[in-house]
């Protein structure tokens, strides 16, 4: 072997592709906001903006522009206007990051985990029960134990569809949706029955012990809890797992070309189960961190929608674990700023749903974005999101 004088170029990261896909995501968001503005203008006839002095007075002569300024201004200030708003945006982003990672990891293995919702529910419940069940354990044991309970229940709820897919061919889209309903009903029974906190009139579990709570990062005035740090760390851990370990190499290979994976000696069954278990575990952690950091008990349906929004977040981030962080923050910001937007402009909170839906459409049909903004068409093979129905 002859060694070349200069060192070989560093492998791995395709910066150009990454930059383009980032640009597409940003343009998708931009386009959604522009169309959202159109929706505001069309519907603002009934809106009654709260005429208060502020920057919008400068453009206040035209009613429609004023409404627009109030709406998006309110959205922005509500999401990022002051330290508390920023902290709340990050709080909102925490479960989105973890659940987004869950869905993204599934995509990497060619699996479409629609069951993050059910896995979050199971994780939340398990963490709430584990957090409340023991008394007097030191924090260093109790908190990890409660988190682990959440991770494991989510992992179990994810592994089952993975196993069914590998062994019987039952498509994970179907089985995870079914398991969502099972989770909802099961939890409904548990919080009204065995785990109900009898001291409360509402069906909910008992409060978790102080030792099992994730600490607030900046004191109780800011709701930002340590779950956010866990989410950031997990994003890097998942990135590392996928790109720097043999485990991730197998998961990605099975996702990119299952036939070649099998040819190369990888087990499809093992990887399907493993990927779905990790995915479910991350979703479970999303639930557990919310229970242990914020809610401190489990009540029905507080998780509503995290699981489904996380699919959109994974798409927006092109399943890149690091990209999940800003995508989740964007989602969290929309959710967090919506209240002030409605207060300021009288525009319904539901506008946020429209903007989110538009983002999903533009990201999913990214050729539209590439066409509008004259970006080069996507080259090479595209990410396989899922297989099964003739895919």
């Amino acid at each position: 072997m002859t060694t070349k004088p200069e060192s070989p170029p560093r492998p791995g990261i395709d910066w150009r592709g990454l930059a383009t896909s980032l640009l597409v995501s940003l343009l998708a968001i931009f386009s959604a906001l522009v169309i959202g503005a159109g929706v505001i203008l069309v519907t603002s006839g009934s809106a009654s903006p709260n005429r208060s002095p502020g920057v919008c007075d400068a453009v206040g002569e035209i009613q429609s522009v004023y409404v627009l300024c109030k709406a998006y201004g309110g959205l922005f200030v509500g999401a990022l206007g002051n330290p508390r708003a920023i902290a709340n945006t990050l709080v909102e982003a925490t479960p989105y990051i973890l659940a987004g990672l869950a869905v993204a990891l599934g995509f990497k293995c060619g699996l479409f985990n629609i069951g993050a919702e059910g896995q979050i529910i199971m994780g939340s419940m398990a963490a709430a029960v584990a957090g409340a069940m023991f008394v007097g354990l030191p924090m260093i044991i109790h908190l990890p134990l409660a988190l682990l309970a959440g991770v494991l229940s989510g992992a179990l709820w994810g592994a089952v569809p993975g196993f069914l897919r590998a062994r019987t061919g039952a498509h994970e889209v179907i089985t995870t949706i079914m398991l969502n309903y099972i989770a909802i009903r099961l939890i409904d029974y548990l919080i009204k029955g065995p785990f109900r906190d009898t001291s409360s009139s509402a069906p909910r579990t008992a409060f978790v012990a102080e030792e099992a709570r994730l600490p607030f990062l900046f004191g109780p005035d800011y709701r930002l809890h340590a779950g956010f740090l866990i989410a950031l760390i997990m994003a890097f851990v998942i990135w590392w797992l996928l790109n720097k370990t043999t485990i991730g190499f197998e998961i990605r290979t099975v996702g990119a070309n299952p036939d070649a994976a099998q040819y190369a000696g990888m087990s499809i069954t093992r990887n399907f189960v493993l990927a779905m278990a990790i995915s479910g575990g991350l979703a479970g952690l999303a639930g557990a961190s919310t229970v242990l950091g914020l809610e401190h008990n489990y009540k029905a349906a507080f998780t509503g929608g995290y699981g489904f929004d996380s699919i959109a977040i994974a798409l927006l981030a092109s399943s890149n674990p690091i990209g999940i962080i800003p995508a989740a923050m964007f989602w969290g910001a929309l959710r967090n700023g919506a209240g002030l937007m409605q207060l300021e402009s009288g525009i319904s909170i539901n506008l946020i749903n429209i903007i989110q839906a538009l983002v999903i459409i533009f990201v999913a049909a990214d050729q539209i974005v590439r066409w509008i903004y004259r970006l080069p068409a996507r080259r090479g093979t595209q990410t396989t999101l899922t297989r099964g129905w003739g895919g």
Binding site: M1, T2, K4, P8, P9, R10, P11, G12, K244, T245, T246, I247, F249, T253, A256, N257, D259, A260, A261, Q262, Y263, A264, G265, M266, S267, A377, G380, T381
Partner: protein
């Protein structure tokens, strides 16, 4: 005399590729015009333009002297163009006559008039010497007969110009000879034929005129009586090539692979491999000849652990690997060049470097524990790219950016540089240019000389004859005979491939 078909300066661009670059040719009435070219030379694009499946970017098409625009197969059929695709467009569960009239059904009232359809098919089949049973189900017919049904379908729709796309790819040598007879009858009756192929021998045998395409350009035309295989190959590739493989005598040792009474089912749960026994010795190339679809694919998949076995044994160097996982087979010292490199051999979206460790990523130096060593993988890739002359800008480019030949070199580089006892090469040069074929053949022989047992499966009889020390003929899941290479003839093998077992002296029954 006006040519029946004239193509003037056709250009067709695909993103990043000039598939046809100012291609012009004429087709005279009653002529067999062969188009020769490597895969990717632009033959298929040109024919798809003629059949209206693609619109040319520039240029014009004249049929019987008149400029025409062909917007789709309907236009093409109306103009008297008929196409027989490499992969037949027949409905297996319908009869020949039903297939022929599909789309232009003969009806009486609301019912199909099967009798009249059968009669028309019979008339055509007598007129052109195309023996086809009109009322037989297509799925029950041999491939050669199905092909005749396709030709009848085109004739039924009034084709005056027939385009045959790689028509011999799926035929035995004898079936190919039958097809040539049919083509000659068609010519005698005034039909014009475009014959597409990359096989030099048959083009020389059948064509009146030969046009050669290379990288989208018409690089020359030749008359068969003035050409040799070498001269055509040189025109196809653009340089002189050697068509024979340099190799000394084999010195076979002990058996590396012993297969005993193996039974394997195909995807439809039919017995594709049916009680097959076989032995490959170290230091020899055992070639499996046979028409595609006689169980070769299933045999290889069963040996490599990709497909379960029903009965029998696979023994690798004394170890029973029947039903073992692909990982165990790999670790046992088996290299596998799969027949479909896109499906099994490569992950196209992965960099070349990752593809080169696809089956060794688990082990040092590429991984320590579960942590992958990117530097070791890169170094390996740099080394192999140079050693196997993979033409690429970087070892970190995705495999999808490589040409077919270079993709195959990546697979070969990966498989040949592991410590192996047995090499299974399945269609190792399918779709490759002549240069890459030379290279891969040389490497296979080199492995043999290093003492590796080689099991070669190929649909190209020439490849089998060029590389094998012993030739096993596979027919309907069984080995009909194993013949020492020096005693094998194309004729003898052809008969065996068709399932005809004579008892001439040179055939030793398995």
């Amino acid at each position: 005399m006006t040519p029946v078909l004239e193509v003037r300066s056709i250009t067709k661009r695909f993103p990043g590729v000039l598939a046809n670059d100012k291609v012009s040719f004429t087709l005279e009435a009653g002529e067999i015009h062969a188009f020769l070219g490597e895969n990717g030379a632009g033959k298929s694009t040109l024919m798809n333009i003629l059949y209206g499946l693609y619109a040319p970017d520039e240029g014009e098409i004249l049929v019987r002297g008149e400029r025409v625009a062909i917007h789709g197969p309907t236009d093409a059929i109306r103009l008297g163009l008929g196409m027989v695709h490499q992969h037949f467009m027949l409905v297996p569960t319908l009869t020949v006559a039903e297939n022929v009239m599909l789309g232009t059904e003969i009806t009486s009232g609301l019912l199909l008039d099967e009798k009249q359809a059968n009669r028309r098919v019979r008339e055509l089949s007598e007129q052109y010497g195309l023996t086809v049973p009109p009322d037989a189900l297509v799925q029950n017919l041999p491939v050669g007969v199905q092909q005749r049904a396709e030709i009848i379908k085109a004739l039924y729709r009034g084709a005056e110009i027939l385009i045959l796309d790689e028509p011999t790819a799926v035929l035995t040598p004898q079936e190919a000879d039958d097809l040539f007879e049919v083509i000659k009858v068609l010519r005698a009756q005034g039909k014009s034929i475009i014959f597409i192929s990359h096989k030099l021998k048959e083009v020389l045998a059948i064509a009146d005129r030969i046009s050669v395409l290379r990288r989208g350009r018409m690089v020359g035309s030749a008359l068969p009586q003035e050409s040799t295989e070498e001269s055509l190959a040189a025109m196809m590739v653009g340089r002189d090539v050697t068509l024979t493989v340099d190799r000394g005598a084999a010195s076979p040792g002990a058996a590396v692979l012993a297969i005993d009474e193996l039974v394997v089912l195909d995807d439809r749960r039919q017995r594709a491999v049916d009680g097959l026994s076989l032995e490959v010795r170290s230091g020899e190339v055992l070639g499996i000849a046979g028409v595609q679809g006689n169980g070769q694919t299933e045999l290889v998949e069963a040996i490599t652990g990709l497909r379960p076995t029903e009965a029998g044994h696979v023994i690798l160097a004394g170890t029973d690997l029947t039903g073992a996982s692909p990982r165990r087979v790999l670790d046992g010292g088996v290299a596998h060049v799969p027949e479909d490199r896109h499906r099994h051999g490569l992950v196209l979206s992965y960099p070349i470097a990752d593809n080169m460790v696809l089956s060794t990523y688990l082990r040092p130096p590429y991984a320590h524990g579960v942590v992958i060593d990117d530097a070791a993988i890169a170094a390996n890739a740099e080394r192999l790219v140079e050693m196997f002359d993979v033409r690429t800008a970087s070892a970190h480019a995705p495999a999808s950016t490589l040409s077919g030949g270079n993709q195959q070199k990546v697979v070969v580089a990966r498989e040949f540089t592991r410590p192996i006892k047995l090499l299974i090469a399945s269609q190792p040069t399918r779709g490759l240019d002549v240069g890459s074929i030379e290279f891969i053949h040389k490497n296979i022989i080199q492995k043999r000389d290093e003492g590796v047992g080689v099991l070669l499966v190929s649909a190209e009889l020439d490849e089998i004859l060029a590389l094998s020390d012993r030739i096993a003929v596979m027919f309907k899941g069984k080995i009909l005979a194993v013949i020492p290479a020096e005693q094998a003839t194309r004729h003898g093998l052809g008969l065996l491939m068709a399932g005809v077992v004579e008892e001439p002296a040179d055939v030793i029954p398995a």
